[in-house]
Amino acid sequence: MDFGLSDEQEQLRASARSFLARECPARRMREIVADAAGLAPELDRQIAQLGWTGLIVPEQFGGAGLGMLDMAVLLEECGYAALPGPFLFSAAIAAFALAAGGGEEINSRWLGPLAAGDAIGTVAIAEANDSLNPAELTTVARPAPSGAVLNGVKMFVPYAQAAQFIVVAARTGPGPREVALFVVDARAPGVKVRPLKSLDLTRRLAIVELDGVLVEPAARLSGDAALFDRVLDAGAIAIAADAIGGTQRALDMAVEYAQVREQFGKPIGSFQAIKHAAAEIVADLEPTRALLWYAAYAFDALPREAARAAAMAKARAADVYSRAAGKAVLMHGGIGFTWEHDIHFWFKRARLDESLFGAPPFHRERVAALGGY
């Protein structure tokens, strides 16, 4: 029994923290989000050179072959920095989908380049009905002589504007669990990407319209509904990790401000109202970080516990982040409500983290169902 990060994981955390503090401080983050596409190709190139894009990609496709816990450690730091861009969706979720369900052909084509930083992938699951239940998917994959033809509209697809390939969930038959994931070339005929304006500027979302898009047989990932579930769990854990890092950052910003801002002749951090708000964030955050580690570890190592663990981590981390970000804004007073102060980026990112890949009530229901209530 050993419940803690390894020395390598601690090193990964420390090096990610210092790299992002140097290369993506809030000032730089603001420049990136001011860009129309919200992208920073130079920064993404550095990230690829550090091996982050290939972190969970199998070695045969040029990655490091590490696990979800390593990725969670890294994503926590990305959340801390509010790193803009497709990294989480590409390197954690799309990469997992291909590594788990892709054949040699599709992975050579997409996963290798993803690991090398030459391709961006994303995942398209939700639709206009905002459901993650496979029974409610409306996008259809109809068999064709050479593969399948996809028709439907995907919503809230992260960075579809920037992606070279999109992992699309589609219905393969009338049954509630007859679904599969397909790897779609973003430039294929019939694919149309229309940007949405996202509240959280550090994240870009889009609508993906699929109008008679032909995909080859190899583009259908193996695993079908079981893979669909696993990809949702990967997304839940990835977002939970981002949320834990964001919570830590909201706390750090609020504490730092409370130490320097003076009212009534002393730092506001000497007032119990402020202290208690900060302490409540710590009390929410610390146990939830342990829950995240458990979920990320279980994702790779404890198949029977993995789904429930992922649901628990997402439900709790999302709640904790939103509450912490709200408290942190309040602790800043008027300056916290301005565009000029940075805290609103985390406040809005918390909102996105709460929703994407299932909001807390959705995951609590899964915890209940999986726990047999």
Binding site: M1, F3, V255, K266, K275, A279, M312, A315, G371, Y373
Partner: protein, 396 residues
């Protein structure tokens, strides 16, 4: 990261479980006894139970061998704790000795004190109580005024303690006394061990909101305490007191009780019918139950993380400060949810013949609130987290 137990640990767990199957008392002691108002015969049976646990080698496994421990890593202790919950074993009557003063003496006591007191703690030969709070010193503990004046080889103690749990049957008290009234308040305090049978000690019961006698007032009238009962240095008792408070926070934040409460709440929600279906399937209550379960699991892994840190010899960091706050509030939240689940049955006193489950929840709902207060209220815990954990400026 590896959540698998070694084959030795798994074998150990089986051995503990088998031992519990064979040795659990079958009569008289309730599976989960928080009743503080213990009569002499219950007390004797609880002491006998603790001795049996000790003789089996399942007590204080992480303590050094020379003081009756097993010098094992804390994983073994956590296995024993888990199995005790699973088996609904009675609580240990010597809990405050084992979890609070024992570890403090191991760190701060001299050899004579360790040899004299630790074995009797484990054998339930001496039950301990905590002499900290006073009428004028609650959350502001360091303002305590119980005075101890050194006369030759003895302290002469005068003053009063309050909210002293178990003082009515305890044999010993670990007590904070003021030995230098002129020093700044944290610097004039000493930590002494007092035999409760010493002449001049009067214990008067206080009735808790549960209706029981659980805690007491303790009066000291020229109570003579041998100088060798001083733990740590004279006037430096505040550090020792904090060591005990640290152990107390961890004891109160322990998830063993929490897990047991969650299991009972889930059983209640499954068996309570509401609108033609079990309450566990009511969409609103189901969400709440899942939220509570998630928080219990988070706390479980949080404690495992700290267990690992202690095995690795690492500083647990900010996390260790939140145990008491989170653990005790979670217990009270679980009990509160159960009270809501019970509807009108929550209105019944525990000895009403219609009370559900012999009034377990109404009692637990009140008792758990007491633990949100004792050992430093949640407000004080938040001050501690903010000032010691986050280094926010002291306001006092």
């Amino acid at each position: 990261m590896d959540l698998n137990f070694t084959s030795e640990e798994a074998a150990f767990r089986r051995q503990v479980r088998a031992w519990l199957d064979d040795n659990l008392p079958t009569s008289g002691l309730r599976g989960f006894d928080r009743n503080a108002d213990r009569d002499q015969s219950t007390l004797n049976r609880l002491k006998a139970w603790q001795r049996r646990v000790q003789e089996a080698g399942y007590l204080a496994l992480a303590w050094p061998k020379e003081y009756g421990g097993q010098a094992m890593d804390p994983v073994r202790q956590s296995i024993v704790n888990e199995e005790m919950v699973r088996a609904k074993a009675p609580a240990l009557i010597g809990g405050m000795g084992i979890a609070m003063v024992g570890p403090t003496l191991i760190s701060w006591g001299d050899d004579e004190q360790k040899t004299r007191y630790l074995p009797k703690i484990l054998a339930a030969e001496e039950i301990w109580c905590q002499g900290y709070s006073e009428p004028g010193a609650g959350s502001d503990l360091a303002s305590l005024r119980t005075r101890a004046i050194l006369e030759g080889d003895e302290f002469v103690v005068n003053g009063q303690k309050v909210w002293t749990s178990n003082a009515h049957f305890a044999d010993m008290m670990f007590c904070l006394v003021r030995t230098d009234p002129d020093a700044p308040k944290h610097r004039g305090i000493s930590y002494v061990l007092i035999d409760m049978k010493t002449p001049g000690i009067t214990v008067k019961p206080l009735v808790q909101m549960t209706g029981e006698r659980g805690f007491n007032e303790v009066f000291f009238d020229n109570v003579r305490v041998p100088r060798q009962n001083l733990v740590g240095k004279l006037n430096e008792g505040w550090m020792v007191a904090n060591a005990t408070l640290f152990h107390e926070r961890n004891m109160l934040g322990s998830t063993t009780t929490t897990r047991m409460l969650l299991n009972r709440l889930k059983a209640l929600a499954a068996s309570t019918m509401r609108g033609g279906r079990p309450l566990a399937q009511d969409p609103v209550f189901r969400q709440r139950l899942a939220d509570l379960e998630i928080r219990v699991e988070a706390m479980n892994y949080h404690m495992l993380r700290q267990l690992t840190d202690s095995i690795r010899g690492r500083n647990p960091g900010l996390g260790a400060w939140v145990n008491k706050l989170v653990g005790t509030e979670l217990n009270h939240d679980l009990a509160t949810a159960a009270m809501e689940a019970m509807g009108d049955y929550a209105t019944l006193a525990r000895d009403d013949r219609h009370a559900l489950d012999r009034g377990f929840w109404p009692y637990e709902w009140m008792f758990s609130l007491g633990l949100v207060i004792g050992g430093g209220t949640s407000h004080i815990q938040k001050n501690i987290i903010a000032e010691r954990g986050l280094k926010l400026p002291k306001s006092r």
